[in-house]
């Protein structure tokens, strides 16, 4: 049986690991190599690294960091942040990543998603979507680190991304980011129910029961989280034990 995945999310600004609240007020948390080494030793399901300042600084993620991390990482590695073209994707995959996450550039140029899927396969093309609530049951996609409104709804954009060949959606709630009060179930469910590709929930996890709730109520395939692992004593394994005790299948 396919297991529900529990993914640590590592947010970077260049060479530093950071954690944001509502996509601002960053705290610096240390060195990405050290942090990834800990996750590797714990045998986590997958690792996702996003450089959250890359787009606004008009650069891609650091290839050196990818090389260093993938050198000791025998699990799937997703890299995102500032990716705008196929040549960059090629370099990132060569440096040892398995998937790339595209966000702002994909909204501006949806053909990028189709190009990545055609050239490298859908399995390595993650479309990362940052959404903000604009009213009751209303959400809008924001890009450029949550700063730029796009006029697109996350449901429409996720459907379009799937049709273009995306292999996975990473859906992050800007409002819940770093708040540790639980995932935005309504947002996540609205997208997971209309696409047939895996949806990864992000934004808001603060305690293990938030993970079981989002799996049960929003039908996502995986849960990503950062703050809970940085600011509480909970580990990915403890989250999985909680899920297992709720009858949600995980790899332990």
């Amino acid at each position: 049986m396919l297991k529900h995945r529990v993914l640590p999310l590592v947010l970077l600004t260049g060479y530093n690991v950071v954690k944001s609240i509502n996509f601002s007020t960053y705290r610096t948390l240390g060195n990405p190599i050290t942090i990834c080494r800990i996750y590797e030793s714990r045998g986590v399901d997958e690792l996702v690294l996003l450089d959250i300042r890359a787009t606004v600084e008009r650069r891609g993620p650091s290839l050196d960091i990818i090389r260093d991390i993938s050198g000791e990482c025998f699990m799937p590695l997703t890299i995102g942040g500032g990716i705008t073209d196929l040549e960059q994707v090629r370099k990132i995959l060569r440096a040892g990543a398995d998937k790339v996450a595209v966000n702002s550039a994909a909204v501006e140029n949806p053909q990028l998603v189709a190009d990545i899927a055609r050239e490298f396969g859908s399995q390595c093309c993650v479309v990362s979507i940052d959404a903000k609530q604009t009213g009751a049951g209303q959400y809008e996609v924001y890009t450029h680190g949550g700063k730029q409104p796009t006029g697109k709804s996350p449901v429409d954009w996720a459907r379009e991304a799937e049709a273009l060949g995306a292999g996975e959606i990473l859906l992050n709630s800007i409002d819940r980011d770093g708040a540790m009060q639980g995932y935005d179930i309504e947002l996540l469910k609205s997208v997971a129910d209309v696409v047939s590709i895996p949806v990864v929930a992000a934004g808001g996890a603060g305690e293990p029961r938030h993970f079981s709730q989002v799996f049960r109520e929003a039908h996502v395939s995986a849960v990503a989280a950062a703050s809970i692992y940085h600011f509480t004593s909970f580990t990915p394994m403890e989250v999985k034990q909680e899920l297992d005790s709720c009858g949600i299948a995980v790899r332990i």
Partner: protein, 207 residues
């Protein structure tokens, strides 16, 4: 016994991860796109990610179809394929068209049934139903987990091919195959933590 393994490079796929994992498994991997090196290899690894048609076209472009067939079927050199590499062992593949494979195994590659799976790709950690008789899985716990990411799998296999399956929704997915000197895994051993390294080690040391 030589621990050298020859990794077939047809210009697609994440070879960096494969080479690192093979080193971790105690082997000395050597990359090649050259027919003579393939025919002279003591062991062959055929990794790959992406679409069957692209793989088939790359084999044609590099002129490697016949050399690989001769090495594996004629000279009986052990070969291990992962993911698309394994799928290319089949006779035909039907991903975005109809393409010939290497024909090392009597079978074909077809899409998983979305009605049975509900979500595709089949992405993440799944456990094998049975590993009985699969030489590369000896020593692993029953029903071991591996990392999968694919939407197509090998099917209509001849009964002489030994198969391990995993369950995804209501679909029974071909997870690993074995026939004499031919081994294939639909999952990615290079991305499957200790279990994956175990499989590579078995191939390097005992196949």
């Amino acid at each position: 016994m030589s621990k050298e393994v020859t990794v077939i490079d047809i210009g697609i796929g994440n070879l960096a991860s494969v080479l690192k994992a093979l080193k971790k498994a105690g082997s000395v991997p050597k990359l090649t796109s050259d027919a003579a090196s393939i025919l002279a290899a003591s062991k062959l690894i055929f990794p790959g990610v992406g679409a069957f048609g692209a793989g088939a076209a790359a084999l044609e472009k590099f002129g490697l179809t016949e050399p690989i067939r001769e090495a594996v079927l004629g000279k009986k050199i052990p070969i291990l394929g992962f993911c698309m590499g394994m799928q290319l062992f089949a006779q035909r593949g039907y991903e975005n068209g109809d393409f010939p494979g290497l024909g090392l195994l009597p079978g074909e590659v077809r899409q998983l049934d979305i009605a049975k799976c509900r979500v595709l790709p089949h992405m993440g950690w799944n456990n094998l139903d049975s590993i009985d008789g699969m030489r590369l899985f000896e020593g692993l716990p029953l029903s071991p987990h591996f990392y999968f990411v694919h939407s197509y799998h090998m099917t209509n296999l001849d009964p002489k091919v030994q198969v391990s399956y995993c369950q995804y929704g209501d679909e029974r997915v071909t997870a690993a195959v074995q026939l004499e000197n031919i081994y294939g895994t639909q999952f990615h051993p290079e991305k499957s933590l200790a279990n994956g390294i175990h499989v590579l080690k078995k191939f390097v040391e005992h196949a």
